[in-house]
C-alpha cells in the first residue's frame, strides 16, 4: 500500500489544493493515493490526513472543506462508539460517505467523458466567415414576461452575500439629517444633539447629523450653546437670542 506523498506535513498543500475541485475530489484523491477500498475506508487515518491538508489550506475556499472535515470527525467518533451486540442492527456510520463518494466518482467519470468529447469536437471547425444577413426585417424575437421575471430572480439570486457583507462605509445622509434638524427647529427653540440622532444611533447617523449641524451653523441657521465645559451642547435656532 503506497502510503505516500500528499499527506506529509511539510508539503505545500495549498498549491496542490488548487488542483482539487472540492472536498470530495480531495478525499477521493487521498483514497486513490493509498489504494484504499472505498467501501472500507480507514476513517480515522483518512480524517487525520484530510485535516492535515485543511490545516495548511488558505481560508478562501475552506468552508466546504471544513464541513467535510467536521463530517469525517463525526464518523470517526461514531466508529469508536461501542457497537450493539446484535451486529445486524449496527449501521456503518460510513455508509452515507461511501454512497456520496461513489456518486461523485460517477460524476467524475461522466465529466471526463464530456471533456474527451469536447476535445474531439474542438478539432472540427465550423465555417469561420459568415455572410452578412441580407437586409430585411430583423428576425422576430421571442420574449415574454415570464422570462423577464425569471431573469429578475436570477439577478437577485446572484447578488446575495457579496452585497450584504461588502465592507463599504455607509454614505452619510447629510441631507436627511438637515431636513430632520430644520423640522425640529420649526417646532422647538432648543434641543440636544442626542435628540436629533435618537436612541442607539448608527455611526453614519451621528456623523451625518454632525456634518449637517456644522453646515447649518456655517450658514447661520443654528447656534451651539454649551453652558459649561464638557457639558451637553444645546442647539438653538438662529433667530433665538442665545449665548454662544
Amino acid at each position: 500500500m503506497g502510503v505516500s506523498t500528499v499527506i506529509e506535513r511539510d508539503q505545500p498543500f495549498v498549491v496542490e489544493l488548487e488542483t482539487f475541485s472540492g472536498p470530495l475530489d480531495l478525499l477521493l484523491h487521498l483514497i486513490r493515493e493509498q489504494e484504499i477500498d472505498v467501501a472500507d475506508i480507514p476513517i480515522a487515518r483518512i480524517a487525520d490526513q484530510f485535516l492535515d491538508v485543511i490545516e495548511s489550506l488558505g481560508l478562501n475556499d475552506a468552508a466546504n472543506y471544513l464541513e467535510m472535515a467536521a463530517w469525517l470527525l463525526r464518523i470517526k467518533i461514531q466508529m469508536l462508539l461501542p457497537r450493539p451486540f446484535d451486529a445486524d442492527k449496527w449501521e456503518d456510520p460510513r455508509a452515507e460517505l461511501v454512497r456520496r463518494l461513489l456518486e461523485y466518482e460517477q460524476v467524475r467519470e461522466v465529466a471526463q467523458w464530456l471533456e474527451g468529447q469536447a476535445d474531439l469536437r474542438s478539432g472540427q471547425f465550423p465555417r469561420g466567415w459568415m455572410p452578412e444577413e441580407p437586409e430585411q426585417e430583423p428576425p422576430p424575437l421571442i420574449l415574454d414576461l415570464g422570462q423577464i421575471l425569471v431573469a429578475v430572480e436570477r439577478v437577485l439570486e446572484s447578488i446575495p452575500q457579496p452585497v450584504l457583507h461588502r465592507v463599504v462605509p455607509r454614505p452619510l445622509d447629510v441631507e436627511g439629517a438637515t431636513r430632520t434638524i430644520l423640522a425640529m427647529l420649526d417646532t422647538r427653540q432648543r434641543f440636544d444633539f442626542t435628540e436629533i440622532i435618537g436612541p442607539e444611533p448608527t455611526v453614519a447617523a451621528v456623523l451625518s447629523a454632525l456634518v449637517a449641524l456644522l453646515e447649518l451653523a456655517r450658514v447661520g441657521r443654528v447656534r451651539f450653546v454649551q453652558r459649561q465645559p464638557f457639558g451637553a451642547v444645546a442647539i438653538t435656532g438662529e433667530s433665538t437670542d442665545a449665548t454662544s
Partner: protein, 184 residues
C-alpha cells in the same frame, strides 16, 4: 448533385449553427422531409467519396458542415482559427450533473459536488451551456437548470440520448431520474 442538394449545401454554409430538418424544410416548400433527408445523404456521401477536407455532421438536433478532425492542428498552427478554451474540472462536473439530472436545482448539484456552484453555474449560463428551464415546487420555488443545444454543439452530440447510459459507467449507482431508488 441535384438542385435540392446544392441548396441544402449552400444553406448549411450560410448558417452559423446547426440547422434542423424542419428549418431546412423552409428552403423549398415543394420538397418533402424524405427529399431533404435524401439530399443530406447525398451531400454526406459526396464529401466522403471525393475525399473533401470538410464533412457533414449531425449534431445538436441538426446538421452542420465541419472541417475534418485531422486538419485541426495544421489550421490552428497557422493561426487561422483558435481552438475554444477548455472547461475547468468544476465546470465539467457541474455540467455532468445537470446533463443527467435535468431539470435540476442548484442545491442538488451542490449536494452531489460538495461545494458551492454559484459561480460555476453563472459562468456556464453566460456561455450558454445551461439555462433555467423551470422552477421547482416547494419552498422558494428554486430555479431548475437544464443543458442547452449549445452544450450539445460543444460536445458534438446529436442529442442528449447520445450521452453514455448510466449503466455503461464503470461506477454504477442510483439512476439520476429516480433518486428514490438509492441504497435500496
Amino acid at each position: 448533385m441535384n438542385r435540392l442538394t446544392q441548396l441544402v449545401e449552400a444553406a448549411l454554409f450560410s448558417a452559423d449553427s446547426p440547422l434542423s430538418l424542419s428549418e431546412l424544410a423552409t428552403l423549398d416548400r415543394d420538397a418533402s422531409r424524405a427529399d431533404f433527408q435524401e439530399a443530406l445523404e447525398e451531400l454526406r456521401q459526396q464529401y466522403h467519396a471525393a475525399g473533401h477536407g470538410i464533412e457533414l455532421t449531425e449534431l445538436a438536433e441538426g446538421y452542420q458542415i465541419l472541417t475534418r478532425r485531422e486538419f485541426a492542428d495544421a489550421i490552428a498552427q497557422a493561426h487561422l482559427v483558435t481552438r475554444p478554451r477548455r472547461l475547468s474540472a468544476a465546470a465539467l462536473e457541474t455540467l455532468a450533473i445537470i446533463a443527467y439530472r435535468q431539470p435540476v436545482g442548484r442545491a442538488e448539484v451542490e449536494e452531489i459536488r460538495g461545494v458551492s456552484v454559484e459561480g460555476v453555474l453563472r459562468s456556464l449560463q453566460e456561455r450558454g451551456l445551461v439555462d433555467v428551464v423551470g422552477r421547482a415546487e416547494g419552498l422558494g420555488r428554486p430555479l431548475l437548470y437544464g443543458t442547452t443545444t449549445a452544450f450539445l454543439e460543444l460536445l458534438g452530440l446529436a442529442g442528449l440520448e447520445h450521452l453514455p447510459r448510466i449503466d455503461e459507467l464503470s461506477v454504477a449507482l442510483r439512476s439520476p431520474v429516480e433518486p428514490g431508488e438509492a441504497g435500496e
